[in-house]
């Protein structure tokens, strides 16, 4: 008789599923991997076999040139991993293709969320609350100061500043996978039909989203603009690293905005020279994290990455068993 849940082992470089000899979101190349989503701290190139949703595999092919050993699993599909372990991919609501992975072995159920959020996002399927014994959650915004306002408010703020600055442009820093497309889709939903200009690093991912059925409207590359003047009165989207870079010098009187959950804290915005902070995040905020744990109601909660101390404390205060896993290499600074 083996101890309960001894088949699933957290290690610094990821979560190891022993009977199937497979890793979840490992931070270094392994023979077999389950991948929750395409962000660099979860998906890496070089695995022998990568099991993920078709959209995540497409993202991995684009970013890490993963072709060999790609094994798709649709949402709701249960894959047999060997050693009596099965994996079921469930939507996580984080970015296109993002999944929670439900692992089952000998009647024990473990969910690994990867990253997730609970608010609606036009670019991906919503998080599915699913019962389990052990819930392995992220905690990127696991502090009670983090509450993300409704995205409509933040998009409204952006559109208002755009209107007031017709002779300049608004440069929005947004993570190239997920955040950028969500911001564009929300702007479209709010009635902005003008051209949105992109940094070159955004182009391929936007095209991939469109190929997966997410309409993003008229997008053009800043490098293709006929003149600086053409950008006046428009929104330009670039990866956060380009905000205070020489690249942005080609823009006409830009106001620097940034779409990130970290913008909730003034010092974080000031550090990056952000003039228009937009609190938009693809991660669960404090209330979403705690509400999700309450709804899923697992026997035990394990916390992977982020502000795990505070979420651990919350679990303790609410008489929930919990532990923090010391994983390395996870942190979504730009989310």
């Amino acid at each position: 008789m083996t101890a309960p849940f001894s088949w699933i082992r957290p290690a610094p470089q990821g979560i190891y599923v022993a009977p199937a000899d497979i890793w979840v979101d490992p931070s270094r190349p392994v023979p077999r991997a389950l991948v929750t989503h395409g962000h660099a701290d979860h998906a890496r190139g070089g695995h022998g076999e990568s099991i993920a949703t078709p959209a995540t595999l497409a993202i991995m092919q684009l970013r890490y040139n993963t072709r060999e050993g790609a094994r798709p699993a649709e949402y709701g599909e249960t894959v047999s991993l060997g050693g009596g372990v099965t994996a079921t991919f469930l939507p996580a609501g984080h970015v296109l293709g993002s999944a929670q992975i439900l692992l089952e072995h000998a009647g024990e159920r473990v969910i690994i969320t990867g990253d997730y959020k609970r608010v609606p996002d036009p670019t991906c399927a919503p998080f599915a609350v699913t019962p389990c014994d052990i819930f392995i959650t992220e905690a990127t915004f696991g502090l009670p100061v983090f509450t993300h306002p409704p995205i409509g408010e933040e998009i409204g703020k952006l559109l208002k500043v755009l209107q007031e600055n017709a002779d300049g442009c608004i440069l929005v820093g947004a993570y190239a996978l997920g955040k950028a497309q969500r911001v564009i889709a929300e702007l479209r939903a709010a009635g902005l039909h003008d051209t949105i200009w992109l940094h070159g690093a955004m182009e391929a991912m936007c095209r991939l989203y469109e190929e997966h059925g997410v309409a993003l409207g008229d997008l053009r590359l800043v490098s293709d603009a006929p003149s600086k003047e053409a950008l006046r009165g428009h929104i330009v989207i670039a990866p956060p690293s380009a905000l205070n870079d020489r690249w942005s010098r080609r823009l006409p009187d830009p106001i620097t905005a940034m779409a990130s959950g970290w913008m909730r804290v003034r010092a974080r915005a000031r550090q990056r020279g952000v003039e228009l902070p937009l609190v938009i995040s693809d991660h669960a905020d404090w209330n979403e994290l705690t509400a999700t744990i309450t709804q899923v109601n697992p026997q035990e909660t394990w916390i992977t990455h982020g502000r795990e101390e505070a979420l651990l404390r919350w679990c303790q205060l609410n008489q929930r068993r919990a532990r923090a896993l010391a994983l390395v290499g996870y942190e979504d600074e730009d989310d």
Binding site: A267, R268, R270, Q271, R313
Partner: protein
């Protein structure tokens, strides 16, 4: 209140000085009276609500939020006001603002006592959103930290109403918040406030650092730069006030001067406490450490007055018995001041003596001895210079003595606040209490958070994170291997540190990545420099 909160928020995210000026000017033009006056006072630190302290806010939060969650949040955010504004439970029923004006907020805050504050503040918080609460707490506890100096606010005021900033400065200090007369004059074109009989502050004339410049002593007079606090003594309408360099009225802290000046006028000098360390006649003055005993007190006991009697060493005269001397050349003002001295009580005043030297080289030699005199350095004043507000090129120079240097080992680091809240930027360092190779220990001798570049800060932050050996709340203890060359002005005995000493103005002079920790200095070496 929403407008003020929005202004504060906009200022937080604006780095350009011109945009800051425009934001404040726009607000001042649009806001009603007396809201805008209170806003101006708030921005420039001119409001004080003694019933509300940072600890009051913390106390309120502890009743509503788990202490561990509070500490983790406060540590991450780096600012008590912001953390509280974000963590305050959002009221369910009321919309933000609820029509509270800034004036109403200020009135309510002024009416608070230590007993009523914990009851009344929550009611105010409940009527605001996070932005409003942030503004409210910043207003109540002081220290806006939005990069608005009093000078910038005055410039914005001048810009808003098309008046001269020098005039704004003059009237500003004579009036109290919410500055009704100032707004009537600037915004409504009413006559300027009549300040003839008001003992008001005049902007100080300041000096540039001498650096590489050499001056001809034919043109420049030299005098000691004393190690006290620069003050302005003003008597008008039968009333005397003492102002600090920033224009704060510190008369209550130094009541011995209120009846000491027998003439109406404005004098510039250095406030010192009697003792034997600093040269000069009349018993000289004690070190800055003695003066420290008198600073920052709102009331002063008779014992204090007797043990640490203050006097003013006079540098200059701005106004005297109806004559404005500010346009006159320095040498005429000096002669006027010398002529005035016999009329002033020796118990409270003396004259800052000129330092005579053959030539510049001889003066440099005299300056070398300045350390022994426990003074800050030399002042060089152009003999024909008028007394002008601020720092004007080529008229006055300060020639500080070189700082003292000591090699210390970094022991602890803490995150900074504001812009630096994600960096470990405040360092505590120590010296060896004996031979480090024979098992000596490090004793903390000081703390510093300046003197390095942004690039160096990044490197230091990385060092701290990679070499942490212990954590105590927000403080990280680091491996004892990095040496700072620390510059400081002087060192004094102190009970605060285990080493029994404290440095004045310590700052990081150089980061000695190359130097092994055991080669850092010893406490005994520092102790030898004490000049109490």
């Amino acid at each position: 209140m929403e407008e003020f909160a929005a202004l504060l928020d906009a200022l937080v995210y604006t780095t350009s000085r011109n945009r800051k000026l425009a934001l404040i000017a726009d607000y001042l033009r649009a806001a009603p009276d007396p809201d805008r006056g209170w806003a101006l006072a708030g921005l420039t630190g001119g409001l004080d609500f003694p019933a509300v302290k940072s600890s009051t806010i913390r106390g309120l939060m502890m009743e509503r939020v788990d202490p561990v969650l509070w500490t983790l949040s406060r540590d991450f955010v780096g600012d008590t006001a912001e953390t509280a504004s974000l963590l305050w439970p959002e009221p369910k029923t009321q919309a933000p603002g609820q029509g509270l004006t800034l004036t109403e907020v200020v009135e309510r805050l002024s009416a608070l006592t230590r007993t009523t504050a914990p009851i009344e503040l929550p009611a105010l918080f409940d009527r605001m959103d996070a932005k409003g609460r942030y503004a409210l707490i910043k207003l109540a506890t002081g220290g806006m930290r939005v990069g608005v100096s009093a000078r910038l606010a005055k410039t914005a005021f001048a810009q808003a109403f098309g008046v001269a900033v020098e005039e704004v400065e003059e009237y500003w200090h004579a009036l109290t918040a919410p500055y009704d007369a100032l707004f009537r004059w600037a915004a409504q074109g009413e006559p300027a406030p009549d300040l003839a009989n008001v003992p008001r502050f005049r902007p100080f004339m300041l000096a540039h650092p001498l650096e590489e410049t050499q001056v001809d002593l034919e043109d420049y007079a030299a005098e000691w730069k004393w190690d006290g606090i620069r003050v302005q003594l003003v008597r008008a309408g039968g009333e005397t006030r003492v102002y600090s360099r920033s224009g704060d009225d510190i008369s209550a802290t130094f009541p011995e001067f209120l009846d000491a000046l027998p003439v109406e006028g404005v004098l510039d000098g250095e406030l010192l406490v009697r003792g034997s360390a600093q040269g000069g006649k009349a018993g000289g003055a004690a070190s800055f450490n003695a003066l420290q005993q008198r600073l920052g007190r709102k009331t002063v006991s008779g014992k204090m007055l007797k043990e640490y009697p203050a006097f003013i060493r006079l540098y200059d005269v701005l106004l005297l018995e109806g004559t404005d001397w500010r346009e006159a050349p320095w040498k005429s003002r000096r002669a006027t001041l010398e002529g005035l001295m016999p009329r002033l009580p020796e118990s409270h005043f003396d004259l800052s003596q000129l330092v005579e030297a053959e030539d510049f080289a001889a003066l440099a030699a005299i300056r070398e001895t300045a350390r022994d005199e426990a003074i800050e350095g030399l002042m060089l004043k152009h003999r024909t210079s008028p007394y002008l507000a601020g720092r004007k090129v080529g008229l006055w120079y300060k020639w500080k003595r070189d700082p003292l240097l000591v090699d210390c080992v970094v022991m602890y680091a803490q995150r900074g606040s504001g812009k630096r809240s994600s960096f470990y930027s405040d360092y505590t360092f120590g010296c060896w209490d004996g031979d480090p190779d024979a098992g000596a220990e490090l004793l903390p001798v000081g703390k510093a958070y300046s003197g390095f570049t942004d690039a160096e800060l990044k490197k230091l932050d990385k060092f701290v994170r990679q070499n942490t050996v212990g954590r105590f709340g927000p403080v990280r203890e680091v491996k004892r291997e990095l040496v700072f060359e620390v510059a400081f002005d002087s060192v004094h005995t102190s009970k605060r540190h285990k080493s029994g000493l404290a440095m004045r103005f310590p700052r990081i002079h150089r980061i000695r990545w190359d130097k092994p920790a055991h080669e850092a200095d010893r406490v005994e070496g520092l102790r030898a420099l004490i000049k109490d």
